[in-house]
């Protein structure tokens, strides 16, 4: 039996799928008992089978189960768990839930409710960063409520601009405005979308930076003011603001720039009084100017690539920080070795507008080998439920440099077999083999251009 020397003895994982599996595995390695929650559709899911205890908390729809705060808290108290790991999505950035945990004497594995609320409000987050001297995308300092006010500011800023929802995420409530004449119409649709999706139509306006790269820095902070960064990830390969491929380190960043951006990221996290794991997102333009966009106050899907290049287990570090341990790693001790790439494999059909494709897995084969990491909740004979997002496998590779990593990923994508449902495996293969991708000439518009030009992969060799 593994001896658990940490304050946290039992964790309830308020999530599902591969992240729940990831967290359960980390807990087991630390001798921490685990409680899984599952909806009725997830009773046979891997995370529900793997945990020490499982509590069924409701019917399939997330709003009736994984988002039901009172039931999750109840399950935590009933099983005697002393902490909750929220994973990502669901309640992970819900400040009310974090506050509720605190009120019930449950350790929330993440930052405090106040920090989540502050950073979750994009307009507020920008203001905090501006006050701390962190460069932000040129844009409004105060929130914008009307198209009239917004347009005045946009005209001043100069087009193109991006209208964004303060409470936004996942690409909703966002519109790019190329010309002045289109501003009012886009503002109205964006704010209506924001109101419908988040119940909040507070907007803000930013300068739109074309051909930008999405660079994010992983932050780790303990409860005693120690903050370090673990290098960056390049997540420029996105479709409709959803990431598809992530890599660490970024091809676009020199050692000097990395050091500078890393220091700024730490400064940003300190300004936000951040604790636990989080990510500072920057946008990098063609002239190597970087700007803060937002802070993600949770562990992220792509955390694995950082783990591969640094050798640091982020989930375990989260559990240690939440247990009250001071950081055991100094900034100097963080070394980036080699190159890691992650391809997100989704149960969707890229040939049919990426329509989700739930269903029964009839044949499954995972590749392996040196520097190959698979994070997934799939197993042979598993039936993917329709009620949740389509991410099913995180395919990661690690090698000495980017070129070797790409080669390895090609092999891994070629060996991966998932039958019975549609997946984006072939689509990812096209991207990995694309000349521009191999050259490192990528930006956030890459996939849209690929789709618009209907690029056929004639250059697969």
């Amino acid at each position: 039996m593994i001896e658990n020397k940490y304050k946290i003895k039992k964790v309830l994982i308020a999530n599902r799928g591969e992240i729940a599996v990831r967290i359960i595995r980390a807990c087991r390695e630390m001798g921490i008992s685990t409680v899984a929650i599952c909806s009725e559709a997830d009773k046979d899911a891997l995370h529900a089978q793997l945990a020490d205890e499982t509590v069924c908390i409701g019917p399939a729809p997330a709003k009736d189960s994984y988002l039901k705060m009172d039931r999750i808290i109840s399950a935590t108290c009933a099983t005697g768990a002393d902490a909750i790991h929220p994973g990502f999505g669901f309640l992970s950035e819900n400040s009310k839930f974090a506050d509720l945990c605190r009120k019930c004497n449950i350790t929330f594995i993440g930052p405090s409710s106040e920090v989540i609320a502050k950073m979750g409000n994009k307009a507020e987050a920008r203001k905090t960063m501006m006050d701390a001297g962190v460069p932000v995308v040129p844009g409004t300092k105060e929130p914008v409520y009307t198209a009239e006010d917004g347009k005045k500011l946009a005209d001043n800023m100069g087009y193109p601009v991006m209208i964004k929802a303060s409470a936004g995420g996942g690409g909703k409530g966002m519109r790019i405005v190329e010309r002045e004449e289109a501003f009012n119409k886009h503002f109205e649709t964006a704010s209506q979308e924001a109101k419908n999706a988040f119940g909040d139509d507070t907007m803000y306006i930013e300068k739109y930076i074309p051909r930008a790269r999405h660079i994010e820095f992983q932050i780790l902070a303990d409860n005693y003011g120690n903050v370090i960064h673990l290098g960056e990830r390049d997540c420029s390969i996105q479709r409709r603001h959803q990431k598809m491929i992530e890599e660490a380190p970024s091809f676009a960043i020199s050692e000097v720039l990395r050091k500078e951006m890393g220091e700024v990221a730490v400064r940003a996290a300190k300004a936000a009084r951040y604790t636990n794991a989080g990510t500072i997102e920057f946008i990098l333009d063609q002239d190597d100017n970087y700007y803060f966009i937002e802070m993600n106050t949770r562990i992220q899907v792509e955390h694995g690539v950082t783990e591969l290049v640094t050798g640091i287990d982020l989930i375990k570090e989260q559990l240690k920080v939440a247990s009250g341990e001071p950081l055991s790693i100094s900034q100097e001790a963080v070394k980036i070795r080699g190159h890691a790439i992650e391809c997100r494999i989704n149960a969707e059909n890229p040939l049919n507008n990426f329509l989700p494709s739930p269903g029964l897995i009839t044949s499954l084969h995972f590749p392996g080998g040196n520097g190959v990491r698979i994070d997934s909740a799939l197993y042979n004979g598993y039936k993917i439920p329709a009620a949740y997002d389509s991410l099913i496998v995180k395919l990661m590779v690690h090698d000495a440099n980017r070129e070797l990593a790409i080669q390895k990923m090609r092999g891994v994508l070629g060996e991966l077999v998932i039958e019975g449902i549609d997946t984006n495996i072939d689509f990812q293969y096209q991207i990995i083999n694309h000349d521009d991708y191999k050259k490192g000439d990528i930006d956030t518009g890459f996939i849209e251009r690929l789709i618009n030009k209907k690029e056929v992969p004639e250059n697969i060799s």
Binding site: M1, I2, N4, K10, R28, G31, I32, S33, T34, V35, D44, L46, Q49, L50, D52, E53, T54, V55, I57, M69, D70, R71, I73, S74, A75, T76, C77, A78, T79, G80, A81, D82, K96, L100, K103, C104, N105, I106, Y379, G381
Partner: protein, 289 residues
Amino acid sequence: MLKEMFKKNDLTSAGRKQVQLGGKIKESLDEAQIPDGLFEKCDKCNEIVYSEDVVSNYYICPNCGMYFRISPRTRLSMILDKESFQEWDKELPVSDPLNFPGYKQKLEHLKVVTNLDEAVITGEGKINDTPVAIGVMASNFLMGSMGEVVGEKLTRMVEKATKRKLPVIIFCCSGGARMQEGIISLMQMAKTAQALKKHDEAGLLYVSVLTDPTTGGVMASFAMLGDVILAEPGALIGFAGPRVIEQTIGQRLPEGFQKAEFLLEHGFVDKIVKRNKLKQTLSMLVKSC
């Protein structure tokens, strides 16, 4: 299928078990437990809701939109400008004309439990800087039933308003006349009505707001005498109870009978106003005179 396939016992000390939700009683303060009052249950949709959500949503169920009944002080804080309320006629002597058994003790107990001295709070305050005289009835004090003290407080409030030329707003909420005080309770119907008549003759505005439930002698007197009669959505407004009516007329009652929306359709209520819009509606009305 992977059911029951994983060996867990050799890694952690926990065994494998299926758990029923129900909650254990916790002894130690160190353990996770849900403090009382953090959650509550909505009587309409039976969902467990987070109390803070209910409060920040004007005491409306965030799940089904049912209007929770609110205390007079909560109502006053929603309607009047901050710190503008001055209470009138507190602690009027208890009335027990029939020497009704157990009545006095019941009143004493309720005073302690509700922190109210009777089933109505009256006084003056400001709505967006306009002075008003206001009365709010309490559903948690003997179901807002009207006895001599309630009638007296309301009457005095209206009379003061007449003298000082203030508009009157009354939030009505009642199960009817208070049985324990017999005919004295019924007399309050006439007493409050005549005070309002004098207020009306002085050319002053009286707005009544009907909340859930407004029934019996209150409905049959001052509640329906407003120059403008507003109602909260879904409020039960009627004189006799539905079962009594059905038994008397020998017919089934129509769908939604005695609900505010039904009354609006049939001309008994001027407007149904959502709770979060009440202050601005009342403000507009009192400023317009």
